[in-house]
Subunit: 374 residues, 2 copies
Amino acid sequence: MKKETFKVTPWEVKGDVDYTQLVKEFGVSRLSDKLLKRIEKHAGELHLMLRRGVFFAHRDLDWLLDEYEKGNKFFLYTGCGPSGGIHLGHVGTWLFTKWLQEKFDCELWFQFTDDEKFLFKDKSYEEIQKWTYENMLDVAALGFKPGKTHFIVDTRHAGLLYPIAVKFAKKITFSTVKASFGMTNEDNIGKIFYTSMQAAPAVVPSVLKGKNVPCLIPLGIDQDTHFRVARDVYPKLGFYKPAIMHSVFWPALKGPEGKMGASDENSAIFTTDSAKEVERKIKKYAFSGGRDTVEEHRRIGGNVDVDVAFQYLRFGFMEDDVKLEGIRRAYENGDMLTSELKSIAIKEINEFLKEHQLKRAKAKKDVEKFLWKG
Amino acid sequence: MKKETFKVTPWEVKGDVDYTQLVKEFGVSRLSDKLLKRIEKHAGELHLMLRRGVFFAHRDLDWLLDEYEKGNKFFLYTGCGPSGGIHLGHVGTWLFTKWLQEKFDCELWFQFTDDEKFLFKDKSYEEIQKWTYENMLDVAALGFKPGKTHFIVDTRHAGLLYPIAVKFAKKITFSTVKASFGMTNEDNIGKIFYTSMQAAPAVVPSVLKGKNVPCLIPLGIDQDTHFRVARDVYPKLGFYKPAIMHSVFWPALKGPEGKMGASDENSAIFTTDSAKEVERKIKKYAFSGGRDTVEEHRRIGGNVDVDVAFQYLRFGFMEDDVKLEGIRRAYENGDMLTSELKSIAIKEINEFLKEHQLKRAKAKKDVEKFLWKG
């Protein structure tokens, strides 16, 4: 068997990710049927990303649900690294987060890690601030509960975060950061410190309320490393370890390797793309599971597992399982051609984006209402 | 000639410091007579710490005075690491800073580095916060100009400092911090980041005013390393390099090696020591330049250069040069005994402390007025 080579860090996802190996390496657990049933019992349904294994792994979710069932409510914490436009991969995680907020009636703390992106990217402070604002519009547009959703921007809310971050920092050595994130002596000292700023929001409500509040973090599995590093520190500081739910990566437009990223314009569909742009990108770039010729396709059928258009439907843009299953069968048995499959994806994505872009424009007026003012 | 061994870092001063070697290693300049004359011209006098070489070195003071003479006023920046009581060594630097504020009519930004002390010391966050408050009382008691003096506490004012600090951090590598401060892979990531928090206040007024303001930092020479590391970064971020004035270390009670420190109760005289306590400490611990027997002392005289009681008078507690010179002569020719010299030091220090303690008690009512509220 060929040895798969891939790399997953919070700043880089490369190669054909082997999730089984990742689960083992990171020490996380697969979401079991039993756990899914417990979620369904409380939520009244299962989100499509749970039904379809997009969110597929976790840490301490059993414990979190135990606490919930005892009446000890949890809050949600997720975030966004603002260095470019928002693409469908980001939106996916946040739509799932929104579902959790609605079903479990949670507070949500949403972190914009502008310090991280400034420290890790070759971009100016001003450019990162511009993206922070732009990204906030997208998050605001998704319709989180206003009274229960708090945006924190690392530099703007450093007064809240830094005093907590230093407590984590005191218990994390450079050796650990070196081993966990692959940092070197030539990395800047802001990068080295940064992980403590990402650990902090998981205890902000506990600090503000003066009592421990359970936390659930929905994230792409590349972000897990931060919490693996901070994991042992939480109890040392008297806090619960946060529970985590991990998603696989949304495939990049150009193919199933790596993840959708904001750095290559044509590797992703952005929330601000026009309907025409979406059509062009999917038609031109979306990696296809179709065959070389129509005849061959009709004869042996396409492969949905690598077909990006199909995967976008599966990951989030086709809610109806029966319809999705119909498309799979039609594509696999050659009844549906790539162009037809792509048309469906274009239509669904553009329907979502049309609505999103209207809400995003409206958010310009009131995005500030989400900013934490403590 | 015996090789002198000593160590000077912001967190440790050990051995018999060779200032000539330090000036060379750090790349600072001695305060020349010409520079002292320029200061005297503007101030109308020379502070005793300048007359007596307690403040003895500098960086870019010529430039700062050029700017001042062109009408471009500077501000002062100094600070305090709150991990214990304030001793005479601290007070010395601050009294000199106060003189500068009065003579040059400057704003003063006074940083309390509670994050530093928490990260570097085996003390709890709460204990450091307690010392921060206690130390603020001492600084407030010294009588800085209320409207022109701004206390900033790193954790409380992280909203102001952290966004600036990350800009420095982005341009400083772990290699640099390793070489400059002797850090290792086993140091915590807060320590590694910290130097950027100390670099930041030197540009705070420039950031707030949106235009470059010259800065002068009076400090003990052990703190120079922070600014040596940040030195090249200031212009890269579009700021002036701060000018610096360096003082030698106040000798520890027990002898001329190292510096007065807050960690050993009996190595220093604290601002909260009672008159009796001061008397006891100086009589019992103050390293004496006297001889083994009265007869020998009468015959060959004492050595003021190593005599701690004399040095405290010289460093700050005897303003009158003529009187100090009289004491020196009397001690050196054996007319004055150690007990007599110690009595003079006890009296002068206790006179200062009596007044200081009254002002310190009053400061409890209004120390908050100094805290920056931007």
